[in-house]
């Protein structure tokens, strides 16, 4: 049908061809793909990116679940507004996000805290942009959760912590993992929020996306493409993981 044809053409032109061009370019440089990817500065950027992204994902797993819990189970005035505010990192341009963090936690911040040009700044920026992910994957599961399971556990002697650990969390886990994967994928590619506040010091506070940008500006598209392919593979792998998790979620609900 025409729809399928148009859809395929659109996707090919917009997504597939451009990405194919990146993969192609990564093999065409003066340096080999391997050399471009093992360049010390590239390795440093990738390492930093991965470490910070994993850290951010883990922080989000805990804080995100906590915030989702408060939003679903607690009642307080203004809760609706708080719920809407969660999506701010999505609605706000990344460059503005970086600027806002710089305003508060940079050299002229009112609290006297200055994390500009440090790795802490990267952490801060990534925490900002990844905030909604775990919260939004956990919320619907928490809403649907059978409260009577928790009441049953309480009647059987479990205290609040035990109820959470043994009954609630196992049912939330796939959603948490899903959100963590999304946060991770977002974090490894982040550029706009990091670029102003981190200072982009090579080997110190330069993340992968900034390194790639630097390679483009230096007229080394192949080097840029090579490291891009690494990010591409990581992103794709994370997407597959999330897809696999979605299927696994229904394991316990499947009637044998």
């Amino acid at each position: 049908m025409i729809t399928q044809g148009l859809v395929t053409a659109y996707l090919t032109l917009i997504v597939l061809l451009p990405l194919a061009a990146v993969v192609w370019q990564s093999t065409k440089g003066e340096r080999s793909f391997w050399d471009a990817v093992t360049d010390p500065q590239a390795v440093s950027a990738l390492k930093l990116t991965l470490v910070v992204s994993v850290l951010v994902a883990l922080v989000n797993a805990v804080v995100g679940t906590l915030i989702a819990w408060v939003l679903v189970r607690d009642e307080f005035p203004g809760k609706l507004v708080v719920n809407a505010v969660i999506d701010l990192p999505f609605a706000l341009p990344t460059i503005v996000a970086g600027l806002t963090l710089l305003a508060l936690y940079g050299p002229e911040g009112p609290f006297g805290i200055d994390v500009a040009f440090s790795r802490a700044a990267i952490l801060l920026a990534l925490l900002f942009v990844t905030l909604p992910f775990v919260i939004r994957t956990v919320q619907p599961v928490l809403i649907e959760l059978d409260r009577e399971m928790e009441e049953a556990a309480a009647s059987l002697g479990a205290n609040a912590l035990q109820v959470f650990r043994r009954v609630v969390f196992p049912n939330l886990f796939p959603a948490v993992l899903s959100g963590v994967a999304l946060a991770f994928a977002r974090a490894i590619g982040e550029f706009g929020s990091v670029v102003l506040i981190s200072g982009n010091l090579p080997f110190k506070t330069e993340v992968a996306a900034v390194y790639i940008f630097g390679r483009i500006e230096s007229g080394d598209p192949s080097g840029a493409a090579a490291v891009s392919v690494v990010l591409l593979v990581l992103s794709f792998a994370t997407l597959l993981l999330i897809g696999g998790l979605r299927r696994r979620v229904t394991r316990h609900d499947r009637v044998g």
Binding site: E148, E151, A152, A154, S155, L156, G157, P170, D253, V255
Partner: protein, 311 residues
């Protein structure tokens, strides 16, 4: 003994319980019977500690437990929709309370095995709740509640989600279980047949108040008011009198026209219309129906053997 004393509870502007007092003798099987909104589930949950009363107290064996959380009351609770821990196997579900109490492993294994046999789920230990039928899930829930040897077993419309045949089976099964295990049991139901079948004592409730407390026979033969009479057992209302269908005698009395005769196996249900237009129905045996030649269109005379009027 379990006691609720002057318990009141409101949800917003809805009064769920209004100064309710109930005594449940130790070792008995008591039913809280009433229509939806009568407050029976709320009362049960307050006894369990899953809700807090606005007023009144709950006492278990003389101890005031009103301010104690459910963990500390020694109650076992069974929910209408099972509340199975769907991420755990049947074995883990039943063992849950024992694991929380950190009982030694061999003790847990033995106790769980014993309970699974008791509820006839012996071979199902490694299955997940999703793989069980409704009836099996409820039996698992019962085993789980009994595992920690509660002082009182509370069941909230335990068979409500099951179909009719399974319901009857589990009813008989619960009675047998109670005879064996002897734990004080309170269950909530809206099915008066179920209450009369199972319970030693029935507490009839309506609109947040206790209407009457008594055994099945007692409630049926000596209802305290109109509500109890119409809720427990079938009844005809003629003017201000209430007549049981099997108390409708044929022979002498008012003129009536037989509108319909329904043969329900052993019983026959005869739908009648009186000269003054009122409708009632009589319950007779097949032999009686034959003897009295009760057919559609027949003209007969009827009068109540007993009737009740409430002030």
């Amino acid at each position: 003994m379990i006691e609720a004393r002057s318990v009141s509870k409101q949800f917003g502007s809805f009064v769920a319980l209004d100064d309710v007092s109930v005594e449940v003798p130790a070792g008995s099987l008591t039913a809280l019977l009433g229509p939806s909104g009568s407050g029976k589930s709320t009362l049960l949950r307050i006894i369990a500690g899953l809700e807090r009363p606005d007023d009144g107290r709950v006492l278990i064996d003389g101890h005031d437990v009103t301010s104690r959380p459910p963990q500390k009351r020694g109650v076992g609770f069974v929910f209408q929709h099972y509340a199975a821990f769907k991420h755990m196997t049947v074995w883990k579900n039943v063992a849950f309370g024992l694991e929380i109490r950190r009982r030694p492993r061999p003790e847990i294994k033995e106790r769980v095995a014993h309970l699974l046999e008791l509820v006839q789920l012996g071979g199902f230990a490694d299955r997940y709740p999703a793989q069980l039928s409704g009836g099996q899930r409820q039996r698992m829930a019962l085993a789980r509640a009994l595992a920690v040897e509660p002082d009182v077993l509370l069941l909230d419309e335990p068979f409500g989600a099951l179909d009719a045949r399974v319901r009857k089976e589990l009813r008989a099964w619960l009675r047998r279980l109670h005879d064996e295990v002897h734990v004080t049991t309170i269950f909530v139901t809206h099915d008066q047949e179920e209450a009369m079948d199972l319970a030693d004592q029935i507490v009839v409730m309506s609109h947040g108040r206790v209407e009457q407390v008594g055994g099945a026979r007692d409630l049926y033969d000596n209802p305290a008011n109109e509500f109890v009479m119409t809720f427990v057992g079938e009844v005809n209302q003629l003017g201000r009198s209430f007549v049981r269908p099997h108390d409708v005698e044929f022979g002498d009395g008012d003129e009536a026209f037989v509108e319909r005769v329904v043969h329900l196996g052993f019983e026959v249900r005869v739908e009648l219309r009186l000269a003054n237009g009122e409708e009632l129905w009589a319950q007779v045996t097949r032999e009686e129906a034959k003897r009295l030649e009760l057919v559609e269109g027949a003209r007969v005379r009827v009068r109540p053997r007993h009737s009740k009027v409430f002030g």
